[in-house]
């Protein structure tokens, strides 16, 4: 066991997770807004933001899927020590972590059932950067429209078609997060041509 397995959690778990949750909630309630989130220092390749989200939301009751690019011994040991979350495959997870390419294909994740649409996965997507530009977003939580540097557009459009079923996304980069719930309508950035 490496020394940094035991470190990197919230200095004060109750206060740290309260602050982190407010950032996550603001992000999920106002899609497209970018929130700061800090307090966690997980091992690479996890970003501090991803670490904080995992510490805030995961425990022994939440199966987690680590996509191939974050599925290393250091991350597994850190996650197990700090949250106790069982590691599972994509089809049984409540939370999935990884970069966009590593998380694909989206069709394998649980999208909930018509009677329990909340029994669906939340994907925590590590992004190289987050910027308020790119794809335009409308829907609940957005006053007129918002823009966010999404990895692609088509996947979110087909996810929206599943409503009220579907996946919810949290994007992380460094110590910042944004989110995209299943209700958000995404359209290609102005002037961009659709690649099919």
């Amino acid at each position: 066991m490496q020394a940094n397995t035991l470190s990197g959690g919230f200095a004060d778990p109750a206060i740290g997770s309260a602050h982190a949750f407010r950032s996550v909630m603001e992000a999920m309630a106002r899609p497209g807004t970018i929130q700061n989130i800090d307090g966690a220092t997980p091992p690479a390749p996890l970003s501090p933001a991803t670490g904080a989200v995992l510490l805030t939301l995961c425990d022994t009751e939440t199966p987690v899927y680590l996509a191939s690019d974050v599925n290393c011994a250091a991350v597994k040991a850190w996650l197990s020590f700090h949250t106790g979350a069982p590691l599972v495959g994509p089809s049984h997870c409540m939370f999935a972590v990884g970069t966009w390419d590593a998380l694909a294909p989206l069709s394998t994740y649980p999208i909930g059932t018509s009677e329990y649409p909340d029994r669906s996965a939340t994907l925590i997507v590590e992004c190289p950067e987050l910027a308020a530009s790119g794809a335009t977003m409308t829907g609940p939580g957005i006053k007129e429209q918002a823009a966010l540097s999404l990895p692609e557009v088509e996947a979110f459009r087909s996810n929206r078609m599943l409503f009220p079923l579907g996946l919810d996304f949290i994007f992380t980069s460094g110590d910042r997060i944004a989110a995209l719930p299943r209700t958000t309508h995404v359209s290609a950035p102005m002037g961009a041509t659709k690649v099919s």
Partner: protein, 283 residues
Amino acid sequence: MNDYNFAYLDEQTKRMIRRAILKGLAIPGYQVPFASREMPMPYGWGTGGVQVSAAVLTPEDTFKVIDQGADDTTNAVSIRTFFQRTAGVATTTATRDATVIQTRHRIPEEPLTEGQILVYQVPIPEPLRFLEPRESETRKMHSLEEYGLMHVKLYEDISRHGHIATSYAYPVKVEGRYVMDPSPIPKFDNPKLGEMAAIQLFGAGREQRIYALPPYSQAVSLDFEDHPFEASKADHPCGMCGAVDSYLDELIVDDAGRRMFVCSDTDYCEARQAAGHKGKDAA
């Protein structure tokens, strides 16, 4: 601060509630089941709202609690003191100074802003419950978007009373999908539910449900083309501050049955009186 964990609840419980809140925000109007805990107050006293508040509060928040609009009733005072003691948060009665407002059965008169969170205490979260007592059936009705029964109920109101007589807990359709019980707020408050800048969270402790309205979402009161929804209030000005646009409580003030109408939102009324507005019953 004393020996309680921050905001009373243990961390695992808060994580469970926080996950339910996030799914509630992602599926507006859908009631997310959660493992409601026993709280140090009886069911019916806002245990759902208290658990949601405990999960969202941070030490920097300023907390306000209203009960039917009033800051100074037993329920409001005891919940405010509860979080003062267990979370060490600042408290206020001024709507504009609060970051988290827990409410029983009212939406403040003053428009809420983007930095604020409104937490409702909900007794019966299921709008279809009095029409269909079986949870297995109402769940199916929501999944099939089968809300005909609710329209029958409103229609029966019209056939019996000549108008839709439902005056509180008036059902709304959220984002064109889920029919939602806005908790027993007067229907006067229904138009404020939609397009609100603040985050709205609903907690039902005994019934173990959490649901939410993200900011700027649609919440349309159910009605008929020939009987459109109407937000109603007592047709009087406030006796204390003279406001004509606020929701009023009717008080019987003496044995002869003399009555007086006053704002149910005490903060709104007091602020207006402090600004020099005076109603006909003001001393």
